[in-house]
C-alpha cells in the first residue's frame, strides 16, 4: 500500500477532522470517553482511508475485510471515522448516546448493520475476530480480520484464551491493533496491572509482534504491510499512542479516560484542533 507525502497530508487532514468530530459529539452527548478515541484517531484514519478493503455503499460485500472493535468504549472514533468514510451522515454524530439514536453508548449492530459485532463488555472482541478468521479460512477466503484492543483490556483473561487459540490455529489473516496508551480507568496500566513486556507475552503465544508509533502513518502502514505477508502467524501491532492526542489539556492524563469535555474545555480543544487543521491545509495546498 503506497504512501507518499501527498497522501500522508491528506490522512492528517482527515484524522484532524475526525478528532474535531469526536470532541463535538462528546460535548453534545455530555458523557462518554475522550482519551482513547482521540488517541486512536490516526490508526483508524489510515485503516479506513488507506488500508481496509470495504465499501460503505455495499455493507454486505463478501470480499470486505472484517473489523472488530473490542474496546467498545472508544466507539466515538469508530463512529466518526465511519461517518467521514461515508457509512452515515457526519451530521448524525451529534446524536451520540441519545434516546432513539443509532449511535449507542457502546456499539450495537442491531442499530448499525455495518458493524460486524456489538461491544462494550471488555475482553470478548478478539475471540469473535478469531472465530471470523477461522470461518473465513474454512471457506478459503482471502479477507483479513482486524481487531482493536485496549491495553487495560488485556487484563481480561478471555483475551489470553483467544490469543492462545489464534496462535495454535496459525491465523495468518488476523491482525490485532493494541492501543498501548498506558492508561485505564483507575490509573496507569503499569500501576493497575503490569503488562510489560507485551512483546514477550504475545511472542510466547506464537504471534508475529511489531511495535509502532501509533501517530506515524508510515510506520503503521509498513507494519500492516508486513503483517499481510506473514502467512502462518497471527499479527499484533502494538500502537504506542498518546491518550487524548491532539488536545494538550487531555493528553497523557488517565482522568480523561471516561470523561466528556464541558463547553469551555471543548471550545478550547476545538480551537486547538482548528489551528492545527489550518496548518495542515496550508502545507497540503
Amino acid at each position: 500500500m503506497e504512501l507518499n507525502d501527498e497522501k500522508i497530508l491528506g490522512l492528517r487532514e482527515i484524522s484532524n477532522n475526525i478528532r474535531e468530530s469526536i470532541v463535538e459529539m462528546l460535548l453534545s452527548a455530555g458523557s462518554g470517553h475522550t482519551a482513547g478515541p482521540l488517541g486512536m484517531a490516526d490508526v483508524f484514519t489510515i485503516l479506513y482511508f488507506h488500508i481496509l478493503k470495504h465499501d460503505p455503499k455495499n455493507i454486505e460485500w463478501e470480499e470486505r475485510d472484517r473489523v472488530v472493535l473490542s474496546n467498545g468504549h472508544i466507539c466515538p472514533v469508530l463512529y466518526a471515522t465511519m461517518a467521514h468514510a461515508g457509512y452515515m451522515p457526519v451530521s448524525e454524530l451529534n446524536t451520540l448516546r441519545r434516546f432513539g439514536s443509532r449511535l449507542q453508548g457502546h456499539p450495537h449492530r442491531e442499530f448499525m448493520p455495518w458493524l460486524e459485532t456489538s461491544s462494550g463488555p471488555l475482553g470478548e472482541g478478539l475471540s469473535q475476530a478469531v472465530g471470523m478468521a477461522i470461518a473465513l479460512r474454512i471457506d478459503n477466503k482471502k479477507n483479513f480480520t482486524y481487531c482493536f484492543l485496549g491495553d487495560g483490556e488485556l487484563n481480561e483473561g478471555q483475551n489470553w484464551e483467544a490469543i492462545m487459540l489464534a496462535g495454535k490455529e496459525r491465523l495468518g489473516k488476523l491482525i490485532v491493533f493494541v492501543d498501548r496508551n498506558n492508561i485505564q480507568i483507575d490509573g496507569n496500566t503499569e500501576d493497575i496491572m503490569p503488562l510489560n513486556s507485551l512483546t514477550a507475552k504475545w511472542t510466547a503465544f506464537n504471534w508475529h509482534v511489531q511495535e509502532v508509533d501509533g501517530h506515524n502513518f508510515e510506520m503503521i502502514n509498513d507494519a500492516v504491510g508486513k503483517a499481510h505477508t506473514v502467512p502462518e502467524q497471527p499479527s499484533v501491532i502494538i500502537c504506542r499512542t498518546i491518550p487524548g492526542k491532539g488536545v494538550l489539556e487531555f493528553e497523557y492524563d488517565y482522568h480523561w479516560h471516561g470523561k466528556a469535555p464541558n463547553k469551555d474545555e471543548a471550545k478550547k480543544a476545538l480551537e486547538e484542533l482548528h489551528t492545527l487543521g489550518g496548518k495542515i491545509k496550508a502545507e497540503h495546498h
Binding site: R66, V68, H108, R109, E110, E116, T117, S118, S119, G120, P121, G123, E124, S127, Q128, A129, V130, G131, M132, A133, I134, A135, L136, I138, D139, G157, Q158, E161, A162, M164, L165, E169
Partner: protein, 330 residues
Amino acid sequence: MLNKNLKLNEKMFDQDVEQIPIRQGFGEGLLEEGKHNKDIVALCADLTESTKMNLFAEAFPDRFVEIGIAEQNLASVASGMAAIGKLPVISSYAMFSPGRNWEQIRTTICYNDRPVIIAGSHAGISVGPDGGTHQAIEDIAITRVIPNMIVVSPCDSIEAKKAIQALLKIGKPAYIRLAREKTPIMTTLETPFELGQSQTLWKGENPEVAIIATGALVHKALVAAKKLEEIGISVSVTNLATIKPLDEESIITLAKESGAIVTVEEHQIAGGMGSAVAECLAQYAPVPVEFVGVRDLFGQSGTPDELIEYYGMGISHIMSAVKTVIERKK
C-alpha cells in the same frame, strides 16, 4: 392413559425399559444434520466425548474446532464464526456453558442475534457423584432470561435428536439442555416434534390436576400419573420440551380444564420452567400451582436416584404435590 396419537413407547413403564443418555441423541442429531448442511460447525472445550460431539468431530474434522478449556472463548469464537455465515454448535458441561460464560452468551451471541446453539450437557442434579460443583440446576433460569434465546429441554434421547435437528434448521440463538445419565425412552421415531409445542403424553378422564414436566423427570411424572390413577386420582402429564418460547396457549388451556397445576423439573424452583409456567398463569389463568424442583439448595455427591429422592423430585414427591394442589383447589 397414554396419548395414542403421539405414538409413544408402549414399553415405557416396563422394568426393562430401554434407557439411553439424552446427550446421545444430541450427538446423533448433530452428526445427521452435519451431513446435509455444510455450514454447521462444532466447537468444544475439552469435553468432546462426554458431550457426544465426538460423533461430529470424527466425521467432519475440518468443521470442528477444539477450543481447549476456555468456555468464554468458546462462546465468542462461535459468535464470530456465525458472523461469517456458519451455524456453530458449542458444547461443554452446562455448569460451564452457559454457567461460566453467561455474559459472553448474552453479549456476543444473543445481543448480536447470532445463530449459535449452546449444548449444556450434564445438566441437573442427576450428574451424581461429581457433586454440587458440577450439577447445573440454574441453567434454565439464566438462559431463558436472555432476549432472542430459545430454550429446549428434551425428555429423552430420541427427542433430543429431533430437537437439535429442528434448532439447526431455524438458525437462532438457542440453549439445549442435556442430561448425563441414561434416561428411559418415552418417545419413538414416529412421535411428532415441533419447537414451541408442548405435548400432553398422558391424559386421565376429567383430570383434576395438570402435571407439566420437562427433561428426564417427565418419566417420573408419568409413573406418578399411573400410580395416582390406581388410587382414583386423575391427572394429565404434559411434556414441556420448549421452555422458551413458552407454549402459553396450551398451558392456559390445561389450567382452565383442570384448575390446578404441578410443575416438575430437575432445576431450582426459582427461575426455572415452573416459574415460566407460573408467570404465564398469574397473568392469564391464575390457578393453584405446586412446584417440584430444588428448593434453593446446592447439590452434593450421591447416586442419581439418591439425589432425586433427597432433593424432593421423586415419584412420591410428585404424587404428594398433586394431592396438595387438589387440597388447595377447595
